[in-house]
Symmetry: C2
Subunit: 329 residues, 2 copies
């Protein structure tokens, strides 16, 4: 698609821009490529014509376009191997047997966030993949009880409830027994529905005040189903990037993180390492998201790195590959 010198120029411009965050001029490239600046200018003009580069104003240097980045990650970039030192840091985490997997992932993403100055996101398995394992209740005091829901993947949610004095604990016990008998194994996001059509009619017959109990469990479950198991590391790292230099952009991105809008950008996709650049993210024009799923036994999740479009693609991809293989072993 592109000539080999064109590719070289594109690659060098992108790599230079990633380092400096400033538009790249022809002279800085011609030093690296052993030809004159005029030659480079011709190449650059051509690359701009084809849509791989952009100018910020008529006499400025060039900046990669999204199409340029895309070409770079698809054709020019090679994942960079980590330094031995960095590798060691991550490996010691995974060789530490006292750590649980989820803690090890958090810890390693903390390190990665620090190494890269980008923000990481961990997204656990969605509620549809979790199945009900057990419901239990525990009376606390007076008319307070706590309802506890556990899934087969070890997620736990609870809901504190005030119950009416004239509901006996026995009745509640009967209800939980029934739920345990009939609904264990049901995917969490289907539980609410089954609760309504399978459990409610039954308890309606022999439990006084069944409405109250039913409502309590119903709200506990629906809250569970909506909960997403998302967790940020180094949320403010990305603000250190020079592209976030004005108040509005910062407010904008902070807001989007707060609202967890990012969840849409990292939900679906294949099993490899996926790169979304700028508008491809459907999250924010100014960021790139690199993500990958991991799967170990029947447990899975997604980890994502959020940085500027001018992200160090080779480094991050290298890191994620390494991390993924570590997790899965």
């Amino acid at each position: 698609m592109l000539g080999s010198r064109e590719e070289n120029v594109l690659r060098l411009i992108i790599e230079e821009y990633i380092k400096t965050a400033k538009p790249v001029g022809s002279t800085s490239i011609c030093k690296l490529l052993d030809c004159s600046s005029a030659t480079i200018r011709n190449e650059m003009a051509e690359l701009e014509n084809k849509g791989y580069l952009e100018k910020t104003h008529i006499s400025s240097g060039r900046v990669p376009s999204e199409k340029g980045y895309r070409y770079y990650v698809d054709n020019l970039m090679k994942p960079k191997n980590m330094t031995g030192e960095d590798m060691l840091k991550l490996q010691t985490i995974f060789h530490n047997n006292t750590l649980q997997l989820s803690d090890a992932i958090s810890k390693s993403l903390e390190i990665i966030s620090e190494m890269t100055n980008y923000t990481s996101v961990i997204l656990g398995s969605s509620s549809s993949e979790n199945k009900l394992k057990q419901v239990s209740i525990l009376p606390l005091e007076e008319n307070k009880i706590v309802a506890i829901v556990v899934t087969d993947k070890g997620h736990v949610e609870h809901k504190n409830l005030l119950i009416n004095e004239n509901i006996s604990l026995d009745e509640i016990k009967q209800t939980t027994d029934l739920i345990n008998k009939m609904l264990v194994g049901t995917p969490i996001d289907e539980v609410s529905e089954k609760l309504e059509f399978e459990i409610k009619p039954i308890i309606g017959k022999y439990v006084k005040q069944h409405e109250v109990i039913y409502n309590a469990f119903y709200s506990a479950f629906s809250e569970f189903a909506n909960r997403n198991n998302m967790h940020f590391v180094g949320k403010t790292n990305i603000l250190r990037q020079p592209e976030f230099d004005n108040v509005d952009k910062i407010k904008n991105i902070v807001n989007k993180f707060e609202n967890k809008d990012i969840i849409n950008s990292i939900k679906e996709d294949d099993n490899g390492i996926n790169i979304y650049i700028g508008s491809e993210t459907e999250f924010d024009e100014d960021v790139t998201i690199i993500k990958t799923k991991y799967e170990i036994g029947n447990e899975n999740g997604t980890i994502a790195i959020v940085g500027p479009k001018r992200m160090e693609y080779d480094k991050v991809v290298g890191l994620l590959e390494f991390l993924k293989s570590n997790i899965e072993n």
Copy 2:
């Protein structure tokens, strides 16, 4: 301490500044006070001498100092009654019997954050006030188990554990039984210690692999004790205030929220409505925090509103008073 006209001038300046966020000049005050601007200037000079006002530069209008705000909230401000409409919004939440208390508080703070454009914080009871109610374990699959810890106030924490194949479930059961027998009622932040000195010696005798089990529970508990039950509403609201107009200030405050530094500012103090202005907060020079504890039955917590020093004190205090009385009934 201050003459009555001085007080009037101070009050008007503060109220004007709260509205406009711009230094207040003498003319805008003299219109309200039916005397000439020169007179006001004299009063202002005097108030500045005494430390209640400040200038941003030699010929600028005046801005309240922390001492000025302090005098205002202590002597001049009257809590403002809410509008009927706002009151209604909050009351319907508390009259909705299907909502649990904690949900009602969250919901009402959402409304308050929206009404005021400030950030709210909810801090639940600290771990030292929570006592162990029950420990339980649930085997999931293969060698995975989940340990669940419940406190008397209905907090629940869990920890997923991978156990060594040669630990039998029986042994784990014995351990949890022992913990339940000996440690129920112990404040959460003392459990780790007791676990070490009272439980460990016993299980050491008759449980093989007791180290592993002990470590698992130890880490579960210590994580629990450190967890603080803090929850922000409208975290980015405060960024809309005009005082947060430069990148560094925003990064700074976002960072502080992220690190939950605020917890130190809202931990202790009496039962009323407490106001901390600027450096009094020990959180951030540029903010005011207004907080209050609530207590209902043996459940308690703290709610706080974080805004600029130029916060609408009368409105927020009015709101919090109203909210507190609603919660406690």
